[in-house]
Symmetry: C2
Subunit: 167 residues, 2 copies
DNA sequence: GGCAAATACTTAACATGTTAAGTTTATCCG
DNA sequence: CGGATAAACTTAACATGTTAAGTATTTGCC
């Protein structure tokens, strides 16, 4: 009676049940709150992630930073180049291994973080109030569990299942 | 005793408690499973979203499609141009309003979907097995609730909180 | 009717995501 | 020791994310 507007019969679940879509929408709803504040300080979301990651340590190798800030190497390379040009970070080469770069946040970078942090924390607090601290903690746990449960799947079932459809 | 590796004192919560980061990591863990299959068929994640959205209806206006596939206008414009060049979609102009474009999936697009859908469903099934159908449903609900709870926040508390820090 | 404002895109410009290839330096091993 | 491999980035190329501007049509209103 009401398959919305006809549509074509394709053997797929409803779009609304797509997990990646649900995660994307939720993330965007959250990020939409932070972006304007970051933008006022001339920072992108990824640049902010890098500064936060660097502020938590004394220094970090590039590969380690990529893992911490959850960025791919090529993206990180470009962003570090720009952040260094803005003097928000400092970089040197490891003495024992000339292949490795070592990055740290600069005084200027720390000063910028201190400017941004309060409004960022205020927004996070507002989100927590709205959604509920308990639910937020529960969501965090479920997201972590999801990530963990898929950790080893990469080269197993999923790819096999996909591959078997290729034959 | 163990603030990891020193780090600089900045008034921010731990990076690991960042909600956007948790959502990003979870989403990436999921998408990592799907991307290879899509890639084998020459599709990006966003192109696939558009095809899925179009397969569920007879036709859609561009603005409506942007909302459904959760893409920004400029991204959608580019992708539709490419999908049309590949003849996976068809587009025309609305008779009653020449500003509006009307898009629909083509026969070729449907055929491609039928090729991709099985492996996509298989992967989704594998994820569901791993994580648990019940938990997955619960996660979906919590993500929807989060999105809903932040819906009206945009121009209220968060921005005010952020703005007040600007003074 | 006709002009100002709004709507529905599209284009532009710059930043990042993603995969592949390239470069430099270390490490392995015969 | 020295060549083959591997490791740690960096660069390249193309697709999308994001904001601002631009274009074509339509609406609202006097």
């Amino acid at each position: 009676m009401s398959p919305a507007l006809q549509g074509h019969r394709v053997p797929m679940r409803e779009f609304s049940r797509s997990l990646p879509m649900a995660l994307l929408r939720a993330r965007e709803a959250v990020m939409r709150q932070f972006r304007p504040s970051l933008r006022r300080h001339g920072l992108t979301e990824q640049q902010w992630r890098i500064l936060r990651a660097l502020a938590a340590v004394d220094a970090s190798e590039v590969t380690e930073l990529a893992r911490t800030a959850f960025l791919l190497g090529p993206s990180l390379s470009r962003i570090l180049r720009d952040l260094e040009a803005r003097r928000l970070i400092e970089r040197r080469t490891a003495e024992t291994d000339l292949r490795r770069g070592v990055v740290s946040i600069s005084e200027k970078g720390l000063k910028l973080m201190e400017e941004v942090a309060p409004s960022s924390e205020a927004i996070y607090a507002a989100i927590t109030r709205r959604y509920g601290a308990r639910k937020l903690a529960e969501l965090h746990a479920m997201l972590g569990a999801l990530e963990a449960s898929l950790a080893g799947l990469d080269t197993e079932e999923a790819s096999e299942a996909a591959a078997s459809e290729q034959e």
